[in-house]
């Protein structure tokens, strides 16, 4: 009842490991797939090796996580081994890429299409880096430019821009991306940025001061974004942001998501989150007499 076809990706259930969460290497991604994820997303790959920020980089603050990892990456040139190992992954693998210019986006895309990921997620939305991402995802025009350029490089591999809730009109950004050739839309990346201050230390806690907010706190924002995007595009949506249990996932599907991303919930519920969420979805569906998850995608719209 949970089988999902997302842009041609055959998934046993709609849960997808969110990018940047446990996605550093092939072996762990494969484990997440074994543990129940319908698809897994690799950590965003950038143009060149990058260390990321100093610690603290990831914190839990009671209502969610906040992170300023700073997009560490081995760079696409060091990605071959992981991609090769991922060929044996039980679930479809989505590659995620970022750059700080259109040229860098296409450079990374070109660098990895040879490995034939099931899909390429274009991270135009990370709030942790000053130029990388943020600018791209808030403007429909710029977002579309990136998507168009990457689409030209990617050929038949489906591409999916990942949007930021910071956009003033996320529906317009999504529509522009669809126009530019996006095969799916991913929303949302982390919210904010936000900041955690420690009173006793009289200092921001994250070394980078600001970081992207995720987890339970952002669920209402994520639902609203997906709801608005659903009314603006006809390509399928990978909805995520604060999804922690089966009921959250059902709500996200009703907002319009075909596939449902799970990131921070792995903190609250462990790597078992994917299986737990899938099971809870099934329980709810049985209670409500819903035969296939497809029936409820977009159900919250009039």
């Amino acid at each position: 009842m949970l089988e999902t076809d997302f842009c041609g990706l055959k998934m046993k259930n709609p849960t997808v490991l969110a990018s940047g969460v446990m996605g550093c290497n092939a072996a762990l991604l494969k484990r997440v797939a074994r543990e129940g994820a319908g698809a897994v997303t690799m950590k965003s790959i950038g143009p060149k090796e990058k260390e990321g920020h100093k610690n603290p980089t990831v914190l839990e603050w009671e209502h969610g996580l906040i992170n300023a990892v700073g997009l560490p990456t081995a760079g696409y040139k060091n990605a071959e081994k992981e991609f090769k190992e991922l060929e044996k992954c039980k679930s479809p693998v989505i590659a995620s890429i970022y750059g700080s210019s259109i040229e860098e986006f296409t450079e990374v895309a070109e660098g990895i299409i040879g490995f034939e990921p099931a899909m390429i997620e274009i991270n135009i939305s990370c709030p942790n880096t000053k130029r990388e991402g943020q600018i791209f995802g808030t403007s429909p025009e710029v977002a579309a430019e990136v998507v168009k350029a990457v689409a030209e490089v990617c050929g038949k591999i489906p591409i999916m821009p990942k949007l930021t809730p910071q956009a003033n009109n996320i529906a317009a950004v999504a529509a522009a991306c669809e126009q530019a050739g996006a095969n799916a839309i991913c929303a949302i990346n982390t919210l904010g940025p936000g900041m955690v201050i420690d009173a006793d230390a009289r200092k921001p806690v994250l070394a980078n001061k600001f970081g992207g907010v995720s987890g339970p706190a952002i669920k209402p924002i994520a639902l609203r974004c997906v709801y608005q995007i659903y009314e603006a595009v006809s390509v399928p949506i990978l909805g995520l942001g604060g999804i922690s249990n089966g009921r959250d996932a059902i709500e996200m599907a009703m907002a319009g998501a075909t596939a449902i991303g799970v990131g921070s919930a792995t903190f609250y519920r462990g790597i078992e989150a994917f299986k737990l969420i899938s099971d809870e979805m099934k329980t709810w569906m049985k209670e409500q007499g819903v035969k296939s998850i497809k029936e409820i995608v977009g159900a919250a719209h009039d």
Binding site: L28, P56, W61, P72, A74, R202, V205
Partner: protein, 272 residues
Amino acid sequence: MSELPQIVKITKVQRETGEHHTLFFNFKAEAAPGQFLMVWIPGVDEKPISLSKISKEELAITVQCKGSWSKRVCGFESGTKIGVRGPYGNGFSTEGVKKAIIVAGGCGSAPLMPLVEKCLVEGIETKFILGAQNAKKLLFKKELIEKLGDNLYITTDDGSEGTKGFTTQTLEELLGKEKPDCVYSCGPEIMMKGVLDICQKKKIKSQLSLERYMRCGFGVCGQCVMDDLMVCKDGPVFSGKTLSESAEFGKLTRLKSGKEVSLKEFGDWRQC
């Protein structure tokens, strides 16, 4: 409750060797031997550090002066405030263990001290092999003599105290004479690889405490990965069985960027 760092005041600083300092502080937490804290110096950096002393009243960590972070820590006096969160990780298990050999290399003694305590409380017959480059770097020697007497075996690379040579040599000798239920070890990964090989050969169970670069400490960021295991959450203590099946243990680690490098290339940073 959130997992944010809590600011604690250092109540006591104890100089162990020229380069190892133990910091005591009050922090209410249920902790097990082998677990670690994320220790934050506000405005500087945050690092995973094992608990070297666990009691109801206080906890302690023992830090080796080495890089930019730890050198600062070693300058701290009592009264200095640090942020701590945790404890994280799984810790050592003593279930079913009646006889144990513990092998510590350099500052690997730190997480092993609360284990010794636990073994003594539980009446486990315990031998401890303590190794270092030279006599001056033997961490917790005095305490271990007090606690274990003849059951402490000292080795130094240069022979300046105890047996000249590596801890692994002494382990091999001991295992020629006896069969413990478990061998525990913490220290440079190369050393632990040696410990594991010996234990596997002799078919003796082992538990080894590993290190990888960490960010979150709680199993989300994936930075500390080794094969498909997150050292911060699935570890830092792994069974010899798990590690004997590992493609990376003793061979590979990852830089902050996530790039894989050989342990050799990475440098024997914990070779303390």
